[in-house]
C-alpha cells in the first residue's frame, strides 16, 4: 500500500527514516529499536519479501563489515567495538530504508518528483536519457561478453583477462558514443533545439 502514497510523501518518509537511522546514538538501545521497527513496518506495509531484503543485505554487509572491523582491530578497548556496532547498525538501517524507497518508487516517478522539487532541467534531461540507455548498454555488454566467451577456449592469464576486459570497455565506449551520435541525429530530426520539454504529469498518480 506504500506504493500508492503521494511520491513526495514517500521521498520525505525515506529521508526522515534515514535521518533518524544515522542520527540516533547507538547507546540508546530502545530508540534504535524503535527506528528499526518503523523501517521493518514500512517494509511489511509495502509487502517487500523478506528473502529479497535478506539477499540484498548479504551482498551489502561484507564491504561495510571490512570497513568497520578495522576499528576494533586497531584498538583494544570497548570504544572500537562500539564504533563498529554503530557503523554496522546505521549502515544496515539506512540501506534497508533506501531499499524500501527503491521498491515503492518507480524511477519515472522519482524523476517527476525531482522535477517538482526544481532540480535543473538539464540534469533531468541527462538523467532520463541515461536511464533510458542504461539497459540498452547492459544488453550490448552482455552480447559482447557472450561473444568473448565464445571465442575463448581456455582460461586466459590474469593480464590477458584484464587487457581483454579493458578492451571490452573501450569497445563499449566507442559503440556508446556512436549510438549517442545516432540518437542526436534522431533527436534533431524530431525538432530538438537543445531545450527539454516535459509532458505534464497528471496530479493524481496512477490509482
Amino acid at each position: 500500500m506504500c506504493h500508492r502514497w503521494p511520491p513526495l510523501a514517500k521521498l520525505f518518509a525515506a529521508i526522515a527514516m534515514i535521518l533518524a537511522a544515522t542520527c540516533v546514538p547507538i547507546a540508546h538501545g530502545p530508540l534504535v529499536g524503535i527506528v528499526a521497527c518503523v523501517i521493518f513496518f514500512a517494509h511489511t506495509l509495502a509487502r517487500i519479501p523478506l528473502a529479497y531484503v535478506a539477499r540484498r543485505l548479504l551482498f551489502f554487509w561484507p564491504p561495510l563489515f571490512l570497513m568497520a572491523i578495522s576499528l576494533p582491530l586497531s584498538q583494544a578497548g570497548q570504544k572500537g567495538w562500539l564504533m563498529f556496532m554503530t557503523i554496522l547498525v546505521r549502515g544496515t538501517l539506512s540501506f534497508s530504508t533506501a531499499l524500501w524507497l527503491v521498491n515503492v518508487m518507480p524511477f519515472d516517478q522519482l524523476l517527476a518528483t525531482l522535477r517538482r522539487l526544481r532540480v535543473p532541467d538539464v540534469l533531468l534531461a541527462i538523467l532520463s536519457l541515461m536511464y533510458r540507455f542504461l539497459f540498452v548498454l547492459w544488453d550490448e555488454l552482455d552480447r559482447m561478453r557472450t561473444a568473448r566467451a565464445a571465442r575463448l577456449f581456455r582460461k586466459p592469464s590474469l593480464w590477458a583477462t584484464w587487457r581483454s576486459a579493458a578492451h571490452l570497455l573501450g569497445r563499449l565506449l566507442i559503440r556508446a558514443l556512436d549510438r549517442a551520435d545516432r540518437i542526436h541525429g534522431a533527436m534533431l530530426a524530431r525538432g530538438w533545439d537543445g531545450r527539454s520539454r516535459w509532458i505534464e504529469q497528471p496530479r493524481e498518480d496512477r490509482p
Binding site: C23, L64, S74, G91, L127, M130, E140, L173
Partner: protein, 335 residues
Amino acid sequence: MHIQDGVLSPVVCAATGAIALGAVSYSVHRLKQSVADRTIPLTGMMAALVFAGQMVNFPIGAPVSGHLLGGVLAAAVVGPWAGCVAMTLVLFVQWALFSDGGLFSLGANVLHMAVIGSWGGHAVRLFVQRFIGDSHKGIVIGSVIAAWASVMAAAALFCLEFRMSWPPSEIDFSKVFTLMVSFHSLIGLGEALITGIAISFVLNQRPELVADAASVRQADASCVGHGSAITSTLVAGLVFALAVAAFLSPFASSFDDGLESALSQMGIADFNLTGRVPGVLEGYEKVPVPIAAWQTFAVSIAGIGGTLAVFVLAWLLGKALPAATPNLNSEAAGE
C-alpha cells in the same frame, strides 16, 4: 569505494554535501554555457556507459574483483564539466536504483569520485601532458597518472572526513588509516591500469573521440581568459598534494599522539592546548575534554587543510596578478 550512510557523521555529511553541491552546480553552469545541442545526449550516454562499464569485472583473486570508477575516462571523452555531471548522475542512480552508497553520504561520494575524479583527473592529465606533449603517449601517461592520483586524493579526503566524524579521544586512527590507504592504493593502481588500457584502445581505434587536449585548452582559454592554464595547474597540484597527504595521514595521526605525549612531558600540554586544568587531579588526564578532541585532529587538518589554504591563497594571488606571459592559445581562440 562507495561510502555508506552511517560511516560519516551528519555534520561531515552536510559539509561534504554542500561542497559537492557547489561543485556540481558550477559544472552544470559551465555545461549550460558550452551547450551545444549535442551535449545532453552525449552526457547522458556517457553516464550510462560509466554505469554499464562498472559491470565489467576485473578479477583480482578468486572471489574478489575490481571495476572501473570512470571519472578520468569520462573527463577524457566529454570534458571535465560533462564528466563531473555524468559521474554525479551515476552515483545518484546507483543509490536510487540499487541503494548503493547512501543518501546523506552522496555528497562525499560525489566529491570523491565525480569532482576529484573528473575535475582533478582532467587537470592532472593536462598538467602531465604539458611535459610529455599532446601525443597519444602523452594522453595515455597523463590519464594513468591522473587516475591514480585522483583515487589517492579521494582516499586522503576520506581519511580526513572519517577522522572528523568520530570522537578522536582514545582512538588510534593510524592503523585504520594505514589500512584504508593501502586498500585505496590498490584500487588506484587498478583504476590507473583500466583507464590506461581503455584509453589507449580508444586512441588506437578512434582517436577523434578522446577530447583533444589542445582544443580543450583553447576552449577553456576562450571562456576564462589567461587564468585557465594557471587554474588547471593549481588543481593538478592540489590533487597531487592530497595524494601525498594520503600517504602521510597514518604518520600524521601517530605524529600527533607523539606530539601530545612530548608536550605533556614538557608540561606544556597542561597549559593551553588541551584545556586541562594543570595539577588539579591526577586522574583528570584520562577524561576526554571537548577541546582535547580538537587538538588531536588538528594535525590532520594542518596537513590537508594547510595545503588547501596555500593553494587557495596562490589561486587568489594568481587571479589578482596579470598573467606574466600571453597565452598563444587564447589569442588564437579569441579571433
